[in-house]
Each structure stands twice: as C-alpha cells, then as structure tokens.
Amino acid sequence: MALLEKFRQLAEAHEALVRTSTDPFRVTIERILSPTEAIVNGRQMILAGTNNYLGLTFDPECLDAAARAVYEQGTGTTGSRMANGSFSGHAALEHELADFYGRRWCVVFSTGYLANLGVISALTGKEDVILIDADCHASIYDGCRMSGAEVIRFHHNDPGDLHKRLRRLGERCTNTLIIVEGIYSMLGDQAPLSEFVALKKEYGAYLLLDEAHSLGVLGEQGRGLSEAAHVESGIDFIVGTFSKSLGATGGFCVSDHDEMELTRYVSRPYIFTASLCPSVIASTRAALRILQTRPELRTRLWNNARRLYDRLKELGFKLGPTLSPIVAALFERREEAIGFWNGLLEQGVYVNMILPPAAPEGGSLLRCSISAAHTEEQIDRICQAFESLRGS
C-alpha cells in the first residue's frame, strides 16, 4: 500500500458523513460571546459542549490577569523550561497547586494530554505493568504506549475485575501502576475510588487518578473525586488539566513521592515542549483562586446539571448512569445520533457528537457538558430542543 493510500477509506467515510450532515469535526465558532454563547454558522448558539464547568473563560479576574501578563511578560516563552528556563509564574503555579492539594510536589505540563503522556511514560518502563480502566481517555492509552510497559485493561469501574488481575500479577504488583479517572468524559460516571484504593493498598501497587473532569466539580473544596470520596492520602499521583474548570489550557501532576520532582529530567513530553505562555499561567492562577473562594459556582453547576439530567430523563432519553455535569444521551443507531445532532444545531444548541468507536460499547452519544455560567433559561431551551426532536 502506497504511503497515502490508507487515507482513502477515511476520506470515503468522511465524504459519506458530510453528504447528510454538517461536518461535526469542523464546526467553527465564528464569534464567542460568553462562556455559554457563540455565533456558529451565522447563528447564535447555546454552547453545551465546552467542558467550561465553572464558566471562568470570561471571568474579569482571569481576563485581567491574562492581559496584564501579556503586557508585562510577552506573548510566549518561545521554548521549553529545560532549555529556556522557567518563568516565575510556572514555579508559582506549581507551588499553589501543591498547596491546594496538600502535596509536596507539582509539575506543570503544556496540555492535559501531555501531562498524561509525560507522567505515565516517566513513571513506568519496560519492566513495569500498567492496569488501566478500559474507558480511560486516549491520552492515558497513548502515555501507556509511550512508556513501553506491559498494559492490561480491566473492566470499566469494576473492582472485582481489577482484583482478579492484581492477583494474577502476584509479585509484580509492586511494579504496577493502576490508572483510573475521577469522572469519565463520555458518560460522566465516577470511579468507585474507595474500593480501588483499598485494592492498591492490599497489593502494594501505585494508583494514578486523572481528575480532568472532576477538578472544581467534586469535593467540598473542589479537589475532585479523591476529596469527595475521602481517600486523598491513598492516591499516589493526581493528574489534572487547566482546560476545563480552570478555563485555559495546560496540565499538571501532584504527588507526595519525592520522585515526582525527578520526572522533570526524564519526561520527554515535559522536556521537549514549549512551556505554557505567561497569560495562560496567569489566568490559571486566578481561576484556581476563584475555584477555592467561590464554592457557589459548584452549587450552581450541580443545580444546572440536575435540571438538565432530570428533564431529559423525564422525556425518556437514555442517559449516563449517574447525575453529572456531563449529561450524555445514548443512541443505538449512529444515523439517529447524527440526525439529532444536526437538529439541535438548527435549533441553536451545540453539543458534542461522539460516534463509534469513540463512545463506550460501540454506541453513539450526544454529550452535553454543563456550566455554572448557564442560566436556567438556557438549560430549559436545551431541554426544549431535545423535546422537539424526540421521535423525529
């Protein structure tokens, strides 16, 4: 097969999709109006697929911090921290995140994707084993591949299956890293974390928790599922992102293991990437302060999520198993999901469409992510759009 031949099948699938649908992979936001509204295809849309859980992308404190940083420190760092050095903001953000989690160490990465790649590939190598929940994010799978470790999947959210696989590993358990997520991005369900922590302790393994979708969303202080489940001390490594509740881009890992600090010297995704630009660091620091001082944002987020989840359930949609700011409507047929997604766009509601094989169990999803910045009226308009398309 010639080099570019493999793209033919992809091109055919793409052409077939866009014959009957707006191209879901090339939606352009022509003008962003607020955390929850934008002009798309010349039409004003309610944005219900942004992961902007606390709605901080237009918060005045975050905007001011970012703008000041641009004027004072310039638009970019133009290189990696290893080569060009760190700006004081990088180090300050790491200290603030470590303090927030009550951990000794924090390393910041340029994206959440790179955080998983960087941490997993630094912690594990050929002699080690990684046990991952089957529904983990692609960045975790890619980090596993990069590490060269033996990678074994266990059934999603199934402590019994994890137990069985730890038992099979025997003495190798002390060389094993278990990886789970706080809230899963597709269906919004949560890991049974206390049971996973008990297992990792019983077998002497290590546990990495990705709180990308749970930071700022769960826990009284917003520290995520580990806080909500009261098992923070049982988690060896917490990975998170700045691109959801913190409204920017970037990622991090916190830990009490002193070796965390040494990962900087071996983590290729940390070493060979340009560091985060000053404005992103500044707005993230402001957002982290807001996350800690305005718990009412979390209350509003959950009220909004409940309003949408309950109403869609009442309307008969098959939803993810638990209430969450990720409200996913499940469709058995791909074509049905595509038709519905286009219908929502026509009604001024933008959600994420997830088609096989990206969705769990081969189904299709229309995934809404709710924000504290949504108004009740906006949530009601989303519900009305779903209702009007039901059965169509």
Binding site: E150, V151, I152, R153, R165, R168, P356, P357, G362
Partner: protein
C-alpha cells in the same frame, strides 16, 4: 496433544461465534482479513479468552497477532508465565 494444540482447540470454540456461516477455522485463519474482527470485536475476543484461560492479556501483544496460530502461541507463553 501438545499444550499449543489444546489452546488452539479452545480458541476455535471461542472464535466460532465470530466466524461467518460455514467458515472453517485453522491456525492460519487471519483475525482481521478472514474473520473481519475490528477493534471492538478484538476487545471482546480478548475478554473471553482471558476468562477461559484465567490470564490477563497485555495490549502490547496485539500488534504481533495476525493469525489464530499467533494468538495461540501468545496464550501459551502467558499461561507458562503464571
């Protein structure tokens, strides 16, 4: 009967539901081109095989498995390591 042959027989049983009507299975049967196993079905096959042999199959072996015979040899190694 060797251990490899025993494993092959068990694999034929597991793979029977994946085979097209009247399709016979041999150690040279290719999982992708002959049985048409795409990624979701491969995952299902792995789960069923893990249960049958009480082993965990690392994802790393997948690129080395083209035929039923390749799969049997990998399982043979994994069961020996137990």
């Amino acid at each position: 009967m060797t251990r490899y042959e025993e494993i092959l027989l068990q694999l034929y049983e597991i793979l029977k539901p994946f085979a097209k009507d009247g399709q016979s299975l041999s150690e040279d049967t290719e999982l992708l081109s002959d049985l048409g196993l795409e990624s979701m079905k491969v995952m299902q096959l792995l789960l069923e095989t893990e249960e049958r042999f009480d082993i965990s199959i690392p994802l790393n072996i997948i690129p080395n498995v083209r035929t039923v015979g390749d799969f049997a040899r990998q399982i043979e190694q994994l069961t020996e390591q137990r």
